[in-house]
Amino acid sequence: MAGDAAKEARFQEIVAANRRRILAIASSYVRGDEARDLCQEILLQMWRGLDGFEGRSAPSTWVYRVALNTAITYRRKNGRHAEPARMPVATPASEPAAPSSPGNEILILEEFLRSLGPVDHAVFLLYLEDLSYQEISEVTGLTKSHVGVSINRMKKAFTQRYCGR
């Protein structure tokens, strides 16, 4: 019973410290009620994996791992039912969008993220969350050079599509 209480306390502490990260990942992969379901699924997986977390990596790295793996699985399993991205404005490649408000920038980033495959989505999301290549490498298991190449490819695609030439 004391062990359970200690686990609960540790869990609460990790969730409280990483709440924003969990919410950010869930809301970037799916929307509305589905995002809430995904959030709870992430918490369930964190709870189940907590006994195996020995603190060899930072708690935030561990949370990112669990959250992204869960989000990828969730999107794979619920792909057919996922709500489509909210399209901010018609943005053909020849007419890059001109964001006039911070909300529009977010919508454009969300649109771009959803146009990526789940793996690229995860890597670009970590880049947007301002993780270093080393940290992204620890979360994903990719080499630093692979992370660099992937991010540069996606940055180029984003710039071409939304930032004009």
């Binding site: 969730v15 920038e105 930032c163």
Partner: protein
């Protein structure tokens, strides 16, 4: 605007959406977790398959004892029950194996592991399909070449029983052929390609 501007806006955006914040509240999370293990099991395809297999195996054995005359027809029903049980238990074992592995590995390890588990799943489904097909063939041979009841009433029941069991075998084999495991495995292979693995 440059990408860095977008990145800054992303980091400053509010994510504390009301419904999401409720979901990720630490104390509410704990009360949710206490019930979600059961919910997780209820959603499991393998558990529902196991329950279905167990119930239908019991029905097959029970019905054969009451309706089907003693002999080859009854044996065919029992073979069907055995095949269903093998299928249900095998699926459940795969589920338990997966249940024990939390999603705490790196993305590369996690996707690789999911892929190997789905490969095992696909192999098992193939085995299950072959088992069904083999036992269906055996039941068919037994129905054709086995001794037939002499009593006309028993003959009718026996013939109906044999037709029913063959239909049941075909229905289960068809259901297995509709499985999405192969599609899922291909999808994971695409993820691994994206990861350069």
């Amino acid at each position: 605007m440059e990408l860095e501007g977008y990145k800054t806006a992303w980091q400053r955006r509010p994510v504390e959406d009301h419904t999401l914040a409720y979901a990720a509240h630490p104390s509410r999370s704990l009360s949710f977790l206490r019930t979600s293990v059961i919910r997780d099991l209820q959603r499991s395809e393998e558990v529902s398959r196991f329950v279905f297999s167990l119930l239908f195996a019991l029905i097959a054995v029970g019905a054969s004892l009451i309706v089907v005359p003693r002999g080859v027809g009854r044996w065919a029903w029992w073979l069907f029950a055995a095949a269903l049980l093998t299928d249900g238990i095998g699926g459940l074992v795969l589920r338990v194996r997966r249940w024990r592995q939390p999603v705490t590995a790196t993305m590369v390890e996690f996707i690789r592991r999911e892929h190997s588990q789905l490969t095992a799943h696909v192999r098992f489904e193939r085995f299950s399909q072959w088992l069904m097909a083999g036992l269906a063939a055996l039941a068919l041979l037994m129905a054709i070449f086995g001794p037939q009841p002499v009593n006309p009433r028993e003959y009718t029941f026996d013939a109906l029983g044999k037709m029913a069991i063959l239909t049941a075998f075909l229905a289960v084999a068809w259901r297995r052929a509709k499985s999405r495991s192969r599609e899922r495995r291909r999808e994971l292979e695409r993820y691994l390609e994206d990861l350069g693995q």
